[in-house]
């Protein structure tokens, strides 16, 4: 029951439009700092582009996808009209306003601070205010998801919350809490300096605040993907979810342990004690658990589909899978990229191993493989799956969809594998250009060139994706029927209250944030003389 289709379509279209722009910038960046481009005579242009790419891909694009998908889930999984549609539109327009407000200073070169802000670098205050507006707009969505679930619960006392909505609300709570870190950094630290009220900034504290957001935000990006794994893929390929409880436990684990682990981003920072770094490292290891659970459950669900289709034997069932189904293809690609990306992540989170790849191109390769690869390819799949229900028109060109997914997968592998490799060789990240004529790094030119070619393959795939969706808006009308989610092998009749509500897990998430972040933040905030002069971008 998708009533507010316009609302959902608006979110998706805005998301994919800004994604297209940021993707183009990304491909240009890969090219311009590779040996096939001539050196950029103005590195500031590179950082300008990098800031736009990161801000869009990190804050605007995934947030809009999660919001649009969240509204779709709320209406179709709960079978009830969205409560608070006006507020949803208000949140959407806040994001539009925030994005425009942030993009203008970036385009003028007044906010080339990269999306991670990097204090004591300080850009134009409107850039930060724009980001705040985007976050505030998304908080409207968080509140609406919670309210809609509450309304449904009142009407269905004691009934099991549909898995898709349970996961969706878990994702919204995770986002609400994890965004607090960056919000504190912006409101208490950066904006007062950018607005000219202060001229020094506690860069160490700001970085700790940002690490609060920076890791769990990845799990917020991941949520739509995991929801698609559990609730769309099995239905799309004709199977069932192997275990509803296992799915709930995975989402609960994300809620609890995605948050108190961000300090693995500050392993090289002197302002954080080694003990806390160790705790964060250990908890980061735990976050592999829900992913492993998911991989197991989804493989089992896929096997069910294959066996229902007549698959036989220990591995013979794999052949029986519907490989021409874009959803199947997207899932397989996503898992492969998740596997490699996850393995790389285990290296990043290990206190000692991290030292060898810290601040190298390995890191950039890693998060592009996980986010751009494993996560975004499922965003495509979600869009393909939802589109006919949103537009009332059929997406006919399945072959083109498969081509698009293949190109994205191949492009991402070609881009990120050499990227990891040059990172191991020691190539630093965040550099506008490299002197490949120098014998010391000349051997890396082949890898960097390959990476840049991969970037253009990704761009081609992105263009095809947008073309498919745009053509879908003009295809002949066809009623797609109600939007459904996958059923479990054993559909839950009753669910223990702990697996049907979020309160306990949200409480644990907040408690772990206090234990793992409380002391470092308090000491940094209370220690005198820890601020440094701000460095204003483009100021004199």
């Amino acid at each position: 029951m998708l009533v507010n289709r316009k609302l959902i379509l608006a979110h998706f279209w805005l998301a994919f439009a800004v994604f297209g722009i940021a993707l183009t910038l990304g491909a240009w960046q890969m090219f311009i700092r590779s040996p096939i481009g001539t050196w950029l005579s103005n590195p500031e242009l590179y950082y300008r582009s990098l800031t736009a790419h990161g801000t869009v891909m990190g804050y605007v694009f995934p947030t809009l996808v999660a919001m649009g998908f969240g509204y779709a889930i709320s209406e179709s999984a709960l079978q009830q009209r969205l409560v608070g549609v006006r507020w949803a539109w208000a949140g959407f327009w806040l994001i539009v306003a925030g994005s425009i407000m942030a993009v203008i200073p970036i385009a003028l070169g007044r906010a080339s601070v990269l999306y991670t802000f990097y204090p004591p670098l300080i850009g134009n205050v409107f850039y930060y205010l724009g980001v705040v507006l985007v976050v505030v707009g998304s908080w409207f969505w968080v509140a609406l998801m919670s309210i809609n679930l509450r309304v449904w619960r009142k009407a269905h006392p004691g009934a099991p919350v549909p898995l898709a909505m349970f996961a969706n609300v878990a994702g919204s709570y995770l986002w609400a809490w994890t965004a607090v870190g960056a919000a504190l950094e912006l409101l208490l630290q950066i904006i007062p300096v950018a607005a000219g009220l202060k001229s020094t900034i506690d860069a160490g504290l700001a970085r700790v605040f940002f690490s609060w957001t920076l890791h769990a935000i990845v799990y917020f990006w991941l949520m739509p993907t995991y929801i698609a794994y559990y609730t769309i893929v099995p239905r799309a390929i004709g199977g069932r979810v192997y275990s509803d409880s296992m799915a709930r436990i995975s989402f609960i684990l994300f809620l609890v342990v995605a948050m108190p682990i961000g300090m693995h981003h500050t392993f090289a920072d002197p302002q954080v004690g080694a003990g806390f770094k160790f705790i964060h490292s250990a908890f980061t290891a735990l976050v592999a658990l829900p992913t492993l659970l998911t991989v197991f459950t989804i493989c089992a669900s896929v096997e069910i589909a294959a066996r229902l289709r007549g698959g036989r034997g220990m591995f013979g069932w794999i052949r029986a899978l519907p490989w021409d189904n874009p959803m199947m293809l997207a899932l397989a690609f996503s898992f492969v990229m998740l596997g490699f990306g996850g393995a790389g992540g285990l290296i990043n989170m290990s206190y000692q191993l991290d030292a060898s790849i810290h601040n190298t191109q390995w890191i950039t390769g890693h998060f592009h493989l996980i986010f751009g690869g494993a996560i975004v390819i499922m965003y495509f799949a979600i869009a393909y799956d939802l589109w006919p229900h949103l537009t009332g028109r059929e997406l006919i060109d399945v072959r083109l969809m498969r081509t698009q997914l293949w190109l994205w997968f191949v492009g991402m592998i070609v881009t990120t594998f050499p990227w990891h490799w040059v990172g191991i060789l020691g190539m630093p990240r965040r550099m506008a250009y490299f002197d490949f004529g120098d014998p010391a790094i000349a051997p890396q030119s082949l890898s960097v060139t390959l990476s840049a070619i991969g970037g253009f393959v990704l761009l081609a795939s992105g263009i095809i994706f947008i073309v498919i969706l745009a053509r879908g808006m003009r295809a002949p009308q066809a009623e797609a029927g109600p939007y459904r989610f996958a059923l479990a092998v054993h559909e839950p009749k009753t669910v223990p209250v702990a697996l049907n509500t979020h309160a306990l897990w949200v409480a644990l998430m907040i408690a772990l944030t206090l234990t793992n972040y409380g002391y470092p933040i308090l000491t940094l905030a209370l220690t005198e003389g820890t601020s440094v002069p701000a460095v204003y971008v483009g100021a004199q």
Binding site: W39, V272, A274, G275, A282, V497, A498, L504, Q540
Partner: protein, 271 residues
């Protein structure tokens, strides 16, 4: 079972959830705060509490280490966003009167005929810093130091604002414009040299760095050599000394010749 029964120890999900989380936290805390600190044989701890404090990152003052005495004075200039903001016409006028003393070397219009720096339209922060450094002795020059020693803070601020206010005129003997050499535009990444243009104009300007277009070639060359030899040391955190030391004599020549040949109207209008 209702929500009210969620947070009770009779709910196995609650006991297990909280218990496992607390157990993991305690085990990792013991490992991180006690076991691992003592596992580092090269670090000595007085007792367990000392190890815990160290691992928690408790800020500690170094016991009795005093900073080594600096043989020579370093720049002590502090610039805040309010130091030179919005000068009054009066202040500029006072600066103009004071600047009559400077005109013999720096020219009546702020354009030198004697290989001294051109000051017309230079950033106020730059003149402010250099005058302070000459006064404190962080930078020395037989001619300039005696002029600076008796200036008050107010006079330094007025002079800075006056020169910043003057229009940027072309150099006295402009030379044909040269193309940008790679040291200016790309630096030398493998030697850790940022492009000159990243701070001094051509690409971008950083607070405290002068724009250099149209300055005397001989002057800029001499300053780079003085930075390289360590004779001049009023640059913050050795920024310029590190760069000048790594530059080749050709690069010094090229950078000086390039900036000397540029007209001042290409200075980025960022102020």
């Amino acid at each position: 079972m209702s929500t009210r029964d969620l947070f009770t120890f009779s709910n196995p999900h609650f006991t297990r959830g909280v218990g496992i989380t607390a157990a993991i936290l305690i085990v990792t805390a013991i490992a991180g705060f006690i076991v691992l600190p003592f596992a580092q044989p090269w670090v000595q701890f007085a007792n367990v509490w000392d190890a815990i404090c160290s691992a928690a990152g408790v800020p500690q003052r170094a016991a009795s280490v005093t900073a080594p005495e600096q043989a020579k004075r370093l720049s002590g200039v502090v610039l805040t966003s309010n130091t030179l903001s919005r000068p009054s016409q009066e202040a500029i006028g006072r600066g103009a009167t004071l600047a009559q003393r400077c005109a013999i070397c720096h020219g009546p219009t702020g354009i030198s005929r004697a290989d001294s720096p051109n000051l017309a339209g230079q950033y106020a922060a730059v003149i402010y810093k250099e005058l302070h450094d000459f006064r404190s002795g962080a930078r020395t020059n037989a001619v300039m130091s005696p002029f600076a020693v008796n200036l008050t803070d107010q006079e330094i601020a007025d002079l800075s604002n006056y020169y910043a206010y003057l229009p940027r005129l072309p150099a006295y003997h402009p030379t044909p414009q040269l193309p940008k050499p790679s040291i200016v535009i790309y630096g030398a990444p493998m030697r850790g040299i940022a492009p000159c243009g990243a701070c001094h104009g051509s690409l971008d300007n950083k607070t405290g760095s002068p724009w250099l277009e149209g300055q005397s070639e001989a002057y800029m060359k001499a300053q780079l050599q003085a930075f390289a030899s360590g004779e001049r040391r009023n640059d913050i955190s050795q920024q310029m000394r590190n760069i000048a030391r790594a530059m080749t004599p050709q690069e010094i020549e090229q950078a000086a010749a390039y900036y000397a040949s540029q007209p001042p109207d290409v200075v980025k209008a960022v102020d």
